[in-house]
């Protein structure tokens, strides 16, 4: 049976403009056969959830390097639940201290990836 490519929305939330990582990931996933939608900088959680819904995404990848992840990511998860999109897998990339990684996972984030993570590792994770 033919599988259509997995669809992933990538977005930067919060105010930080560090988009090197998310753009490298976008390229890597596209090269690996994913359908990648990059929503861009400074996305409010509401707009991200809208993009996930509009694009019928399987995955949502959030990039945040501002340190505001413990404020922004829970809000985003809550909005996904309210929109009945909690079957969408959420991964987070950025500068996330170890103790926050566990908390984010408990809240329902599927995976957290730090700077310099090999793209292969992310692809394998999404393929599991």
């Amino acid at each position: 049976m033919e599988h259509s490519p997995q669809r992933i929305v990538l977005a930067k939330i919060g105010l930080d403009g560090h988009d090197r990582g998310v753009k490298v990931v976008a390229r890597g996933l596209r090269d690996a056969g994913f359908h990648v939608i990059y929503a861009g900088l400074w996305q409010p959680p509401e707009a991200v959830v809208q993009a996930v819904s509009d694009e019928d995404a399987d995955w949502l990848g959030i990039s945040i390097l501002s340190g505001a992840h413990m404020t922004q990511v829970p809000r985003l998860l809550e909005l996904l639940r309210e929109s009945d999109l909690d079957d969408v897998g959420v991964i987070v990339g950025g500068i996330i201290p170890e103790s926050d990684v566990h908390q984010l996972q408990q809240m329902g984030v599927a995976g957290v990836f730090g700077p310099g993570t090999p793209i292969r590792e992310i692809i394998e994770f999404l393929g599991r």
Binding site: D16, G17, D19, V24, R27, G67, A68, I95, P97, G116
Partner: protein, 549 residues
């Protein structure tokens, strides 16, 4: 010795060809091919007097001062700031007590983006990556008890730089300080925000106009202030090569010079106060060559292209910071070693001031322990290694001279490509810089993923068990405290005055007059940064590059 090796160079070549090769290609961290051996033949156009010259003399390849570190060490300037203005003030005093010789202020993201702390978009970001500031009162508190006529202050701010400079000067005035004695640097480099760092608010043309407004005002009123820190650092952090960092930064500088001249300023009046900010990455010789090439290219452009007569206008003075993007969250103590080598590169490259990153910066803002070690790294370099004794100690090395010349040539090619793209503003609007940098970032990640580049502790020499570092936690109360203090300022001010000064600001912005005097008036009236930025946006509009990748 064997009989057939009549010529030593031939013999070397044969022996080299027979030798085994390691798996990793002999390229720089930027992917530049490096020859196994450099000799006289690699520096063909090289002449001691013209190409190299003497320190403190054109073309300044060997350094901008005659005595360099024999006369005075570089300024050890650690970038810091977090939480409320009073918390950052305590960290500043801590660093000055530890022997730091200049201050460098980090602002939080809302400030960098021109938003007040009470803006809904600021939620969760207030005081987190830098100090939160909203009004002139925050600037009074931030530098309280610090003698601003003695300590030089650097402020890393770009899109709303001119607003913060107005806060700083208005605060200095309220303290009774003489603007003519204030020393420091404001980054005020918006172009690299469009290329790389993404902290822009207004479209490119009015953004550059604000840069020029600040230069024009400070050249006349605050003569010791460095009005722009033309920055390659962030371009490199976004993934560029060393040559791209060099070329794009100098191209940005030339654009500012051209705009100031177009405003009617005399190049020798403002050029001596332009400064530069480069990255110090892992590849020691590539970095040294980059700093040397930058000085030669800038001196040539200032003297020969822009006709500057004053030698001070020709000198590229540079602040360096070790490469944040090279730091790893695996085995973070290893970052200390990376930072030490990077600092060595900056010093061998002849920097005027230096920030060394802390080992824990891939995880959080630096702890006091980590930031002390980072400063100690510079102190060991300065006082124990002996690298300060001789000026430009690598000058005349076949390898370093060949690399310096090669980087100059490759930068010139980029200058031509920017021209062909329609000049700086057109190239920004068409995403030329962003595309070039993104390609380099992808190529580097691929080299790491393929183990063409080895990163210790990451793709080789990994360690199963790791003990996390003790990191700094930002108090969650910071946001509430800052909101309360902003509310107090708003309550205590005369809103009629605020409205009037904001109207004046809109008028001067629209009339193409220098907005600085009206910003000062608004700052004195306790207008907030967000209010002033919004007033400017009413006239200029806002900008987004979209989501191109």
């Amino acid at each position: 010795m064997t009989a057939d090796s009549s010529q030593p160079n031939q013999r070397w070549r044969e022996e080299f060809q027979r030798s085994p090769r390691r798996d990793q290609p002999p390229t720089t961290v930027s992917g530049m091919e490096i020859e196994p051996l450099y000799g006289r033949g690699d520096v063909v156009d090289f002449a001691d007097e013209e190409t190299l010259g003497y320190p403190g003399q054109f073309p300044f390849v060997r350094g901008v001062h005659a005595s360099m570190y024999r006369g005075r060490l570089w300024t050890m300037r650690q970038f810091s700031g977090f939480g409320t203005p009073s918390q950052s003030n305590r960290r500043f005093r801590f660093l000055l007590e530890k022997g730091q010789t200049g201050l460098s202020t980090a602002f939080d993201l809302p400030t960098l983006m021109g938003l007040d702390s009470d803006d809904p978009r600021s939620t969760g970001e207030v005081g987190r990556l830098g100090v939160a500031t909203d009004t002139i009162d925050d600037f009074l508190e931030l530098y309280a008890g610090i003698d601003l006529e003695q300590v030089s202050v650097s402020m890393t701010i770009n899109a709303p730089a001119i607003v913060l400079m107005a806060f700083y000067l208005a605060a200095a005035e309220e303290r009774g300080l003489d603007w003519k004695k204030l020393r420091g640097t404001i980054q005020n480099d918006i172009l690299k925000e469009f290329h790389a760092q993404n902290e822009f608010v207004f479209p490119p043309v009015p953004s550059v106009r604000l840069v020029v407004d600040l230069i024009e005002f400070c050249t006349a009123q605050v003569p010791l202030w460095n009005t722009v820190s033309i920055s390659g650092y962030h371009i490199r952090e976004a993934g560029s090569t060393a040559v791209q960092e060099l070329a794009f930064t100098l191209a940005d500088g030339m654009h500012y010079v051209e705009q100031c001249v177009a405003r009617g300023m005399n190049v020798d009046d403002f050029a001596p106060r332009l400064s530069f900010f480069f990255n110090a990455h892992n590849d020691l010789f590539e970095e040294v060559a980059k700093y040397r090439a930058a000085r030669a290219l800038w001196a040539d452009a200032m003297r020969n292209r822009y006709g500057a007569k004053n030698e001070a206008s020709w000198k590229l003075r540079v602040h360096a910071q070790t490469a944040g993007c090279s730091l790893q969250d695996k085995q973070p103590e290893v970052n200390l070693i990376r930072v030490a080598y990077q600092a060595l590169a900056a010093v061998l490259g002849g920097c005027q001031s230096l920030h060394t990153n802390s080992m824990d910066e891939t995880v959080a803002l630096p702890s006091e322990h980590a930031v002390t070690l980072a400063l100690r790294t510079q102190q060991v370099l300065a006082y124990e290694t002996g690298v300060t004794n001789s000026v430009d100690p690598l000058g005349g090395s076949y390898f370093v001279e060949a690399l310096t010349a090669q980087m100059q040539r490759e930068a010139e090619v980029y200058f031509q490509r920017i021209e062909q793209a329609g000049g700086m503003i057109a190239a920004v609007e068409h995403g030329f810089f962003r595309r070039e940098i993104a390609e380099a970032a992808v190529a580097y990640q691929k080299a790491c993923d393929d183990k063409k580049k080895i990163i210790v502790g990451v793709n080789e020499f990994q360690q199963a068990e790791e003990k996390p570092l003790e990191t700094l936690r930002i108090d969650e109360q910071v946001e509430q405290e800052q909101l309360a203090s902003l509310a107090r300022v708003k309550q205590g001010r005369n809103n009629g005055d605020v409205e009037r000064t904001l109207d004046d600001l809109r008028r001067t912005a629209d009339a193409q007059q220098n907005v600085f005097p009206t910003l000062l008036a608004a700052a004195r009236a306790r207008a907030t940064m967000g209010e002033m930025v919004n007033a400017l946006a009413d006239v200029f509009g806002r900008y987004n590059t979209g989501a191109a990748w």
